[in-house]
């Protein structure tokens, strides 16, 4: 589904990704872990087409299509979704108007009829239940005045609305208490199927107790330096990132 080869990317002239290789197939859950500044968020930004980042080499294909050549909106239409580490507040734009514009843009892209107002509202109601999102939040401005937990729930709600094929969850656990973490993780698990895939970016093993990965990768200094099964996350939790540095022969 996703094939990343020797991906290099920089921001403001500074190279952050220095040759990332990663293959994700349908039905899989991949966790990407790594210390601060290793390039985890850069990877998600580059994959979703954030204009602040420049790809300086390598390739990324999504179902055979050149992902890097697509606009951010077309990447979304092709089925890519990013749950933001810091969801953006957009005062004055209602959640309903925002979601309707997103859902209908995707339908137009795929040559489908736009949803009627009642069809759309019904869909909103159903998908809200996935993360138990308060109806009041859905009628407010996008993320405005939402608590940290509400913002993350709102991300998963949007994921439920857009039905992506590949979701990247960028530190979705940060700023969440244990109850909110459970709700968010169970939302993600409900949306999981054999046809879609998930990349979980996280610092901690904790989230992986709830969203079970098939593969764990360690990103360090812009490269994936280690890949293994779920046991790698546990080992990392136990030994810390210094262990990575040591095994790479640093210090």
């Amino acid at each position: 589904m996703l094939e990343i080869k020797d991906l290099h990317a920089s921001v403001e002239g500074k190279e952050i990704l220095k040759g990332v290789n990663l293959t994700v197939r349908a039905g899989e859950v991949h966790a990407i872990m790594g210390p601060n500044g290793s390039g985890k968020s850069t990877l998600s930004a580059v994959l979703t087409g954030n204009p602040a980042y420049t790809v300086t080499g390598g390739s990324a294909t999504f179902d055979g299509k050149d992902l890097l050549a697509l606009s951010p909106e077309d990447r979304a239409h092709e089925g890519l979704f990013l749950s933001f580490q810091y969801p953006v507040e957009i005062p004055g734009v209602s959640m309903t108007g925002f979601m309707k514009a997103a859902v209908n843009a995707k339908r137009r892209y795929h040559g489908e009829k736009e949803l009627s107002a009642s069809e759309f509202l019904k869909m909103m109601r159903e998908r809200r239940a996935v993360v138990d999102l308060d109806g009041k939040l859905a009628s407010r401005a996008v993320n405005e005045g939402f608590s940290g937990g509400e913002k993350k729930r709102n991300e998963i709600f949007q994921m439920a609305m857009l039905e992506p094929r590949l979701s990247i969850l960028d530190e979705t656990d940060s700023g969440l208490d244990i109850d909110a973490l459970r709700v968010v993780a169970s939302g993600v698990n409900k949306l999981k199927s054999k046809d879609n895939a998930t990349i979980v970016i996280t610092h901690y093993q904790r989230l992986l107790d709830y969203i079970k990965p098939d593969f764990v990768h360690i990103l360090y200094k812009g490269r994936i330096v280690m890949s293994a099964g779920p046991e790698l996350a546990l080992e990392l939790e136990e030994k810390g990132y210094d262990w990575i540095k040591q095994s790479l022969g640093e210090e």
Partner: protein
């Protein structure tokens, strides 16, 4: 070069003709206007309060003035049929500068008195004599030029205690085969405890001919009177508009002015508000959406000369392409006016690299015990919000539209006229969409 000279010459040459077609009460104002103009000149771009606009250039073309009061080339009521299923207003037309009050409007008025100056000179001479030209006298050379050349206008007279059940809509149409200056004039006299809502819609028919709409509005609000004045411009690129709204407010009166520019060529809107009564309140709102080469310049002056009165100003601009916006605002609180509260805000969004905004907020305060502040911002579209929306699949142009519309939402929501507010949300959406045809008629009514 002094662009005023040609109009002074025109007046000197044809004053007999001009005055024969105008009521005596207007003619009586001309000598002092002429005296003002002979020693005046129009500001050039870069002068104080004219940072963006060259008024001399605006008046330089040789505009014709309809001195002989020729008939309408077409019947405005026919050509611009306003079916108003929801708005339900009393509709008056002004064709260039010739006011026209239809039978239907007269029948629907029921309380308020609306007359042309020519009619009012017979029916309500005391009202005209007491107020016409009294406030405009405080204006600049363009207001004096209006006084020098105006031949008629509309009086909206609200006798004490009268409430207008329906809003009064003034549909102003500019249409000319050759460059024309429309010299428009409106006088609103709202006596004690009267209440009225007015909606002015400025349109231009046809294109390819540059015309100038030179207008003066005077409003006098008696004790506890309320006046809402919505001033909507939907003209075209050939239209120049220089407008000054004067208002005088007495004790406990409430004035709301909402100036909206959706499409235009070049516009200078002046507001001159005299808040003279205790507990009088003024709301001055503005919403400008400009793209292409649109140019919208606002000057507001609010003078508080009584204790415990208040004013609140908020002007918002969204500029794209090469559009130019300007705002120069001044709040003056005179000596001996404790507990005045005044706020002045100007918020701007420049949505393209070439759009330009000039802004200058000012406060001048001579009393200690007051609350006054101002705030100005010029920003760009929030790139983080843009990216966030695009990752959800919202196309870039739609994301831009949503953000620009969101920026205007609070100004639209402060419209105290439900049907108009809903209509404006819709019009603004269409405007940002690019589907609002420039002046296809009265968009409010369609």
């Amino acid at each position: 070069m002094n662009a005023l000279q040609q109009y002074i010459d025109l007046y000197r040459e044809h004053s007999g003709l001009l005055e024969r077609h105008a009521p005596a009460v207007l003619n009586a104002l001309r000598p002092s206007a002429l005296a003002t103009l002979t020693s005046a000149r129009l500001p050039r771009k870069g002068e104080e309060d004219y940072e963006a606009t060259d008024l001399e250039a605006v008046f330089a073309p040789d505009y014709g003035v309809n001195l002989t009061r020729l008939d309408y080339p077409i019947d405005p009521a026919e050509s611009l049929r306003c079916d108003v299923p929801n708005l339900s207003t009393c509709l008056l037309h002004t064709f260039n500068d010739v006011p026209h009050i239809g039978h239907l409007a007269r029948r629907n008025l029921n309380g308020p008195i609306v007359e042309t100056f020519t009619e009012a000179a017979h029916n309500h001479p005391d009202v005209l004599a007491a107020h016409l030209g009294r406030l405009s006298h405080k204006g600049d050379a363009t207001a004096a030029l209006n006084t020098l050349l105006a031949q008629d206008g509309l009086l909206v007279y609200m006798p004490a205690g009268v409430t207008a059940a329906k809003p009064i809509q003034l549909l102003n149409i500019l249409s000319a085969a050759r460059p024309t200056m429309a010299v428009r004039r409106l006088l609103v006299v709202a006596e004690a405890d009267s209440h009225v809502r007015l909606l002015a819609c400025d349109h231009t028919q046809g294109s390819g001919v540059q015309s100038l709409n030179l207008q003066v509005v005077e409003m006098v609000l008696g004790p506890r009177a309320t006046v809402d004045y919505y001033d909507l411009e939907e003209s075209n690129a050939d239209t120049r508009r220089v407008s000054t709204i004067f208002a005088e407010q007495h004790d406990g009166s409430e004035l709301l002015i909402d100036g909206i520019t959706l499409t235009n060529g070049l516009t200078r809107n002046n507001y001159h508000i005299e808040v003279e009564g205790e507990r009088a309140s003024t709301q001055l709102l503005g919403m400008t959406i400009a793209s292409g080469s649109q140019h919208v310049d606002t000057r507001s002056f609010v003078r508080h000369s009584a204790p415990r009165c208040s004013s609140n100003q908020m002007f918002k601009y969204v500029l794209s392409d090469q559009a130019v916006g300007a705002f120069a605002g001044k709040v003056l609180i005179e000596e001996g006016c404790p507990r005045v509260e005044a706020y002045q805000g100007n918020r701007n969004l420049c949505a393209s690299p070439e759009a330009k905004m000039y802004t200058k907020p000012q406060l001048e305060i001579y009393t200690d015990d007051v609350k006054a502040s101002h705030g100005t911002t010029i920003g760009q579209l929030d790139q983080e919000a843009m990216f966030y929306m695009r990752t959800r699949g919202i196309p870039e142009h739609e994301a831009r539209r949503l953000l620009m519309q969101a920026f205007m939402a609070d100004v639209i929501d402060s419209v105290r006229f439900d049907v108009l507010r809903d209509r404006l949300h819709h019009l603004v959406e269409k405007r940002f969409d690019g589907t609002l045809a420039s002046c296809a008629g009265c968009a409010i009514c369609k």
